[in-house]
Amino acid sequence: MDILRFITAGSVDDGKSTLIGRLLYDSKSIMIDQLTAIQQQTKHKALGEIDLALLTDGLRAEREQGITIDVAYKYFSTPKRKFIIADAPGHVQYTRNMVTGASNANLIIILIDARNGVVEQTKRHSIIAALLKIPHVIIAINKMDMVDYSEDTFNNIVIDYAAVAESLGLNNITYLPISALNGDNIVEKSELLSWYDGPSLLSLLENISIHQDVNLNITRFPVQYVIRPQSPEWHDYRGYAGKLISGILKQGDAVTVLPEGLTTTIDYIEHNGKKVNEAFAPQSIVLHLKDDIDVSRGNLIVPSHQLPTVSKEITTLICWMDAKPLQKGNRYWLQINSTMVKCMVSEIQYALDVNTLEQKNNVSYIGLNEIAKIVLKTASPLAFDSYNTLSANGGAILIDEATNVTVGACMLQ
């Protein structure tokens, strides 16, 4: 059994929480006591049926306002897969929460209300999917019951969306007509949608191939922590603990320690306390090097024939997540995996209009939930890859020096 992480996105009333509720309910992942609790709340709200959306809205403010504010994680499994759902808010003011949920997703389900077709929010959610390089996209055209299960309506929306997808370079798209409220095409295929010959949503989720979502071709090992027992028994033990974020490492491999650039070979590898000949992503391991060189947290160990970029000047796309705007000259901490360096914004190249995709030049600041391309200068050289080539070593965050809050999501170029 493997794990599929997916995010659901849609506008406020597209039925996103209902869809998740339906998946959990129909896959029998909801327990009686949870159901009783939401039945009681549904009564409070004076609605007729069980409000499946109540299953995911976890905070009091969310239940009161009937909206999703922050990402809720939900879990269910079938005999084939374990699923982790990031139920993210759709509203523009919570874009940063959506980016949070999207950053670890193998797949995104973008909901479109069949009555409304492709709207502004659909485009914004698609831009985020494209920016974060989410490997698989499902366009779920919901509320088909409200349009008499019309094949024409479905086809017209598919044509509209395909144009958006093309402009964004989004691939791996599957289109699916559903009614989350009635359960059409969610777990079982619906007879009311007999013109649709693809699988149901659950069947899609169970069968999409996600092996390739882990990059095994480029090897990167960020050092998190140095294990030095300093006990008589383990006197000379010095192990570099970390997670292999991509690729494969073998005993005897020639490696380079970055950003300094010192070279050595792998003496041996430990996985869960046992020596192994090789390790692969995403295993957490302990590495032992042949030579006694200075290695500590923040270093990146890579095969010597597969060097990443090492630079003090970094161009990056950024999704800004703070109320205080980003401006040229501002200083931040830049964190990529276990490496932290100080940096300064040296240039704002352009801001992206998330509705029209237009590039706006000559902008002096970037506001909350805006996307921009900027240049950062770092205090010391940083070893990284382009996010498009290797997202595991190309995603970084900016941290405000004064508040310590995470203020930006960077996709390094």
Partner: protein, 305 residues
């Protein structure tokens, strides 16, 4: 394609690696971390994961048990044996001492629970030792407020969680930067479900306190829940004490944790039972969660885990 079949981690191995990564981020980013240990299966799993993250070195943190005084004796014995076996430091802070020093009244009622009072003791211990990161075994599948919480969850100097002001948490990058006096609650097994925990325990043959397995116990039945007869609960004249074969699905205080009728005497039986069950873990066994719909959210806002 061949490569991807050869180098593939199943869901438990993925969850394990994710948790070890989080443990090592704590070790790398904080000065004074601590692991909160309750003696339950989730915190025992945390200890097992910490062994994998740091051996042959020692843990870069002690264990902390917030002792309500309402423990199952089996769990305390287990705790002491485990700590002895792994040779790590255990700190115990007692709710009773907090009640004495702060002049807090003993909670009243049939199942008078010191659960809420634990928060005071925890916050005092954080203050006493200047802990900057507290690692806990909470899981997002347990409860809907927990489903919303980040893996690195920043608390202010009063230990409070502000669910509306959570830091974005992207990819596998954990921002542990805090101001003096604040602390971070860290949840390495956020993405595990109850069933994942049991399957992991089975795979690695992790030992557990005996109360997780079916045994004979004197209980009273109260609003459909079975509560063990102990000095910590009030037994009324019309309560009917019976001996039943039960086990515990979660380990909390004797005063607020309910048992379930079960014949599951080994891990395979327990896994089969969980797969068949129609009631959630906390719903079935926690008397303290039913107070209000937002009981957990409110407790978290006040510094609880």
């Amino acid at each position: 394609m061949e490569k991807y079949h050869l180098y593939h981690l199943d869901h438990l191995d993925q969850l394990e690696s994710e948790a070890i990564h989080i443990f090592r981020e704590v070790a790398g980013q904080f000065e004074k971390p601590v692991l909160l240990f309750s003696g339950g299966k989730d915190s025992i799993t945390l200890v097992h994961l910490a062994l994998r993250a740091f051996r042959p070195g020692n843990f870069p943190f002690p264990l902390l048990h917030i002792d309500t005084g309402h423990n199952f004796p089996e769990v305390l014995q287990f705790r002491d044996a485990l700590v002895h076996e792994i040779g790590e430091q255990l700190i115990v802070r007692k709710v009773e001492d907090t009640m004495r020093s702060k002049n807090l009244p003993e909670p009243k009622g049939k199942f008078a629970s010191r659960n809420a009072l634990q928060t005071f003791t925890l916050l005092d211990a954080i203050e006493e030792f200047k802990f900057d990161a507290c690692i806990g075994g909470a899981r997002r599948d347990e409860e809907k407020a927990r489903a919303k919480e980040r893996i690195f969850s920043v608390r202010d100097e009063f230990g409070q969680w502000d669910p509306k002001l959570q830091r974005p948490e992207l990819w596998n990058i954990y921002n542990g930067k805090i101001h003096k006096g604040e602390n971070v609650r860290v949840f390495p097994i956020s993405n595990w479900t109850e069933l994942d925990i049991w399957n992991y325990i089975k795979r690695h043959q992790i030992a557990l306190p005996s109360i997780y397995f079916a045994h004979q116990r004197e209980v009273i039945e109260y609003e459909g829940q079975l509560v063990a007869v102990s000095p910590f609960i009030q037994i009324a004249e019309d309560d009917c004490i019976t001996t039943k074969q039960v086990r515990y699905r979660t380990v909390g205080d004797m005063s607020c944790t309910a048992a379930i009728e079960s014949t599951a005497t080994n891990i395979d039986d327990i896994i089969a039972e969980i797969i068949a069950t129609k009631t959630s873990e906390r719903g079935e066994t926690r008397i303290d969660d039913k107070v209000s719909e937002a009981a957990m959210e409110d407790r978290k806002k006040n510094g609880y885990f």
